[in-house]
Amino acid sequence: MSRGIRQVQTATAASLGDMTLRYRDGRVALDAITLTFAVGEQVAIIGPSGAGKTSLLHVLACALRPTSGTLAVLGTAHPWNTTTATLHALRKRIFLAPQMPPLPPRQRVVHTVLAGRLPQWNTWQALKSLLYPVDAPLAEAALARFRMEDKLLLRCDRLSGGERQRVGLARMLLSAAPLILLDEPVSALDPVLGLQALQTVQEEARARAATMVVSLHDVGLAHAQFQRLIGLRDGKVFFDLPSAQVTPERLADLYGMEPPDATSDAVAVDASGIKMSRCF
C-alpha cells in the first residue's frame, strides 16, 4: 500500500523554483519561493494575513505571472512562455476556487455549479445548458455532498456566505481538474460543516488522484487534515514540514506571537486573532 503511494508520488504536479512575484507597484508579494508538489499530494498553506497565500495559489493556477524564477505545472514548464492558447488549455486542467467565490447574484445555483463543466464543454453545449440545464442531476448530487441539494433552483443572491462557499466547492466536484487549488474554502462555515466540507473535497481529490493545495486560516483544521503544512510569512516560505513536526512554538513564530506555554496545543493557537482576513 505505502509502496504504491510512494511510486505515484514520484511524479511532480507543480513546482516553483526561486519564484518571485512583484505587484505592479513594485512591492514583493512572494519572495524566492521554491516548492514542489507531488501528484496526488494534499498540502495546506498557513500563515498570517497578507503573507501571500492567495498570491501563491494564483501563481500555481497560472492566474498571475511570476516576475522571476521558474514555474512548472502539470508537465508544462514555463507555461507563461508558451502561447496564450497553450496557457489557456493548461488552465482547463486546474481548478482554483477563489476566497469567497464570486458568484453572479442573479444566476441560479444549478448554472453556477454546472459552470464547473465549462472547460470540458464547447460553446454550444454551454449555451444549450443556459437554455435548459444539462446534467442537472449531477449538479444536484454535487450539492448533496455538501447538504445543499435543496438549493439547486435558488438564485445565488439568496444564499448565505457559507452556502456560497459550498456552491463554489460543489462546482469543483464537477470539474475534472487534476490540480485543485482552494483559497480559504471553509472560512465562512461553522467548525462541524467546515470539517465535513473539507473532508468531502479531500475524498474527491483522492478519488481522482488529483493534487490539492489549500490555504487555511484555521490552523487546527490544517494540522488535523493535512500531512504536509507550508507556513508562509511575508512572502517567504517560513517552514515546509510534515504536520507532525509543526510544533506550537513554530506556529507561534509563524504568526509572530509570544511562544505559548507548554500546556497549549496547536489548536489553541487558532483562537487568538488569526481569523483576521484582508478587507478591501
Binding site: R65, P104, R106
Partner: protein, 277 residues
C-alpha cells in the same frame, strides 16, 4: 471636561462646492447670451397671437375614419422602422461589445497588460463605435435618402448605424461596470471567453441590457419620427405635411399617438424588468 465647549466646525468640502456652483453659473451666462435665449420673446404680443392661433386649431384632434386609418398605418410603419433599425443595431452592437470587452481578455489575465494585437483590435472597435454614434441619425438619414431615395430603408439604416454605435458603447460600459470577478474566476479555470461571458457576466447585467435596449427602442421610435421629416417614412413624414398645412387637429392626433407609443415602450420595459427579477 467630559463635554468640552463645542468648537465651531467647518465642512472642508464647502468652499469647493460653492466655487464650482458659481463657476458653472458663470459659464452658463455666455451660453445663454450666444444662443440669444430670451424668455421675454415668448410673451411678445405678435408671437403670443401666432401661437394662440396655431394652438386654437389643435382642438378637436382630427378623428375622421380616413385619417385614423392613415394614423394607424404610419404609426405601424414608425414602429416597424424603429424595431428593424434596433434589431440591426443590436446585431452590430452585441458582437462588437463582446469582442471589445476588456474584462474578457485572455492575454491580460495574470499579466496586467493586454497583448498588442488584442489591444489594437479592442481600441479599433471602440473607435468605430464612437465614430458611428457621433454622426447624428438625421445626417445618416440625409445621406441614405440621397443614396437609396426617399423611404423607410433610409430611416432603418440611419437608426441601425447611430444606435449600433450607442448601444455597443453602453453595453461595454455595463459589462465593465459589473463585478467582473465572476467571469474572471471562470476564465482562470479555463472557460472560453464566450462561456465566461454567458456564465459570469450575463446573469448580473441582463436586466440592465434589456431595459437599456427597450429604452433605445423607445428613442428609436421618437427618432424615426424626426427622420420622417426628411423623408425617411413613418409618422414624421405625415406629421410634417400636417404642420405645413397648419392642420393643428392632425398634429395633436399625431402627438397623442407619440405619447401612447412611448407609454407602451415604458410598460414593456417595466414588465421585462419585473419578469427578469
Amino acid at each position: 471636561m467630559l463635554l468640552a465647549k463645542p468648537q465651531p466646525w467647518h465642512d472642508p468640502a464647502w468652499p469647493g462646492r460653492v466655487t464650482s456652483t458659481v463657476i458653472f453659473l458663470l459659464l452658463l451666462l455666455p451660453a445663454g447670451y450666444i444662443t440669444e435665449f430670451n424668455p421675454a420673446v415668448f410673451f411678445d404680443a405678435t408671437s403670443l397671437r401666432a401661437s394662440k392661433q396655431f394652438l386654437a386649431t389643435f382642438f378637436p384632434p382630427a378623428h375622421s375614419l380616413e385619417f385614423l386609418q392613415l394614423l394607424v398605418q404610419s404609426a405601424w410603419k414608425t414602429v416597424a422602422i424603429a424595431t428593424v433599425g434596433m434589431v440591426l443595431a443590436l446585431g452590430m452592437a452585441l458582437p462588437c461589445s463582446l469582442v471589445a470587452n476588456r474584462a474578457l481578455s485572455l492575454s491580460r489575465l495574470g499579466r496586467h497588460r493586454m497583448g498588442l494585437l488584442p489591444a489594437i483590435v479592442r481600441a479599433g472597435i471602440r473607435w468605430i463605435l464612437s465614430i458611428l454614434r457621433s454622426i447624428p441619425e438625421l445626417v445618416w438619414a440625409l445621406l441614405f435618402v440621397r443614396a437609396v431615395g426617399l423611404g423607410d430603408t433610409a430611416g432603418v439604416m440611419a437608426i441601425a448605424l447611430t444606435y449600433g454605435g450607442m448601444v455597443g458603447k453602453v453595453f461595454l460600459e455595463i459589462y465593465e461596470a459589473q463585478d467582473t470577478r465572476a467571469a474572471e474566476a471562470l476564465l482562470v479555470n479555463g472557460a472560453g471567453r464566450l462561456q465566461a461571458f454567458c456564465y459570469g457576466t450575463l446573469p448580473s447585467c441582463l436586466p440592465e441590457l434589456l431595459s437599456y435596449t427597450v429604452y433605445r427602442w423607445e428613442c428609436a421610435i421618437r427618432s424615426s419620427v424626426i427622420l420622417g421629416f426628411v423623408g425617411a417614412g413613418g409618422l414624421g413624414q405625415q406629421m410634417e405635411l400636417s404642420m405645413r398645412m397648419l392642420n393643428g387637429g392632425e398634429v395633436l392626433s399625431f402627438l397623442l399617438v407619440f405619447i401612447l407609443l412611448v407609454w407602451i415602450a415604458d410598460r414593456i420595459s417595466k414588465g421585462l424588468r419585473t419578469w427578469i427579477d
